[in-house]
């Protein structure tokens, strides 16, 4: 797990104490480990204090700054609303942690291998920490990028190319059969929620960990008779694998700062999904935005946005746009949002 250090600037004593204690309280709910250090690179700055504003002007190009104020300042990429509350604090720190992991030089002492220079010449190199904004950061395209070929997807593609029925399995888990004749896969019922709660499964491991065995088409038919299960379109397995194996890493060949849009909705009647994927599809089909903006507007973590984006990219649903274009949709009132949540809750009971 990555470890981040954070400090504060210009906060009054009460807020400072509150922040430190809140940080401890929420730590268990954070995707990375966070601790308070005076010399940290990530700094929560009180923008309603003159000292904070001056510090922001001086340091914003060098440090990762989080604006602390009642209203989000226009110049802030990262923002924590005043007063400090648990939920916004968790969301801000998790989003920041996810974005930091894309940076070539992160403000974190991560246990993961540090990112190296992008290997594709068209990708501009990024200067060492310029700002924390994921909008101006570049995804690492080497070890830290998601290469679908290194996952089950690569093996499936090979099976399709060879027109060979295969059985894929890890350890003693339920196998996945590929029928070349039907161009479909067969396995037990796939529940994304269940998979998400399982640390290691066929769909999130690298292909070296997958046992892969050619079988006869008749063996697939036999497996249906013996084990039950159901057929899935190849696209559904590729989609599921992309969602599971990405782990917040951007797919090879894509720039994080590039605004993107979806051509249309993924076929969620067939593709396994969770509620936040529906939110993302709604936003990304109507707006052209960087993934960081998508995360901010939909309140979905940047890691989940990246996973969804990768899956959409493999479904060929993504179009790259020159400029971001956000619709000036009338703000949905809190009452309406609360109503929508109430309806969803009732429907999903």
């Amino acid at each position: 797990m990555a470890h981040f250090k954070i400090t504060t600037k210009a906060l009054n004593k009460n807020d400072d104490v509150l922040f430190k204690s809140m940080l401890q309280i929420v730590n268990a709910q954070l995707t990375a480990e966070w601790s308070f250090h005076d010399d940290a690179e990530i700094i929560l700055v009180d923008m309603e204090e003159r000292e904070g504003q001056q510090f922001w002007q001086q340091q914003q190009a060098q440090r990762v700054l989080i604006a602390y104020a009642r209203e989000k300042p226009a110049e802030a990429t990262w923002f924590l609303p005043r007063p400090i509350r648990v939920k916004p604090l968790i969301q801000t720190l998790n989003a920041l942690a996810a974005a930091q992991q894309f940076l070539p030089t992160a403000a974190a002492s991560s246990t993961t291998t540090p990112a190296t220079t992008p290997s594709i010449s068209s990708i501009p190199s990024t200067p060492a920490i310029k700002t924390a904004s994921p909008v101006v950061s570049t995804a690492s395209l080497s070890q830290d990028a998601f290469d679908p070929e290194q996952s089950l997807i690569g093996l499936l593609k090979q099976a399709v190319a060879k027109q060979q029925a295969m059985c894929f399995q890890i350890a003693a888990a339920t196998p996945l059969f590929f029928s070349a004749k039907r161009q479909q896969c067969l396995t037990a019922q796939l529940q994304l929620n269940t998979l998400a709660a399982t640390p290691t499964h066929l769909y999130n491991v690298s292909q070296e960990q997958i046992q892969c065995e050619p079988i006869a088409e008749t063996a697939v038919i036999k497996a249906i008779a013996e084990q039950g299960g159901q057929f899935y379109p190849l696209a559904a397995i590729i989609w599921l694998t992309a969602l599971s194996a990405s782990k917040g890493r951007l797919i090879v060949g894509h720039l994080l700062q590039q605004p993107v849009k979806l051509k249309h909705w993924p076929n969620l009647a067939v593709l396994p999904h969770q509620p936040h994927h529906i939110r993302l599809a709604a936003f990304m089909t109507r707006n052209s935005a960087t993934l960081a903006t998508v995360a901010e507007k939909t309140q979905v973590s940047i890691a989940q946005v990246v996973d969804f984006f990768n899956a959409c990219q493999l479904e060929q649903l993504v179009e790259h746009t020159e400029q971001a274009a956000l619709l000036n949709k009338n703000n949905v009132s809190d009452a309406k949002r609360s109503l929508f949540r109430g309806i969803l809750k009732r429907l999903l009971q």
């Binding site: 051509k263 249309h264 909705w265 076929n267 969620l268 009647a269 067939v270 509620p275 529906i278 939110r279 599809a281 709604a282 936003f283 089909t285 109507r286 507007k297 939909t298 949709k329 949905v332 009452a335 309406k336 949002r337 109503l339 929508f340 109430g342 309806i343 969803l344 809750k345 009732r346 429907l347 999903l348």
Partner: protein, 176 residues
Amino acid sequence: MSEIKIVFTGSMGAGKTTAIAAISEIPVISTDVRATDADVLQRKETTTVAMDYGELTLEDGQKLRLYGTPGQQRFEYMWKILARGALGLVILIDNSGSDPIGELVRYIDNFREFINETSAVIGISHMDTNPEPDLQSYYSYLQERGIELPVLPVDARSSDSVVMLIQALLAMLEFG
């Protein structure tokens, strides 16, 4: 807040009554009568002439009302009455019909103003038995007209399937 309702509209035989019944917590109040149209009779015996009505009680006691419109164009006056004040629209299209995309055009045109003000989701039924036109054909039509609405296959008998359409509609209302 006034009445909270979602309206199901769309082609005759697409499964509007069935979809409402799939999620309503009360028996659907329907105004189905014996059909006389030859094209209707090929697919079903009855047709809705006024509306269908179902409801769901939310946690705070409010009712989400589900209205289904008649399918045929001649009942178009009911479409407007029922859509008034609705949160959004679920358009169901029967893919086994003779011109499903033409049907979609009709509903989009009729509800254009309402859709612009709120949002809609399009559910395509009977795609399992009638895969053509495919989803891409629907999207191509919508893109030509600059419309960005979700198009999803639906099994009107399945509550999960209908719930997903409403999830998509709510997401469009909030984020789209």
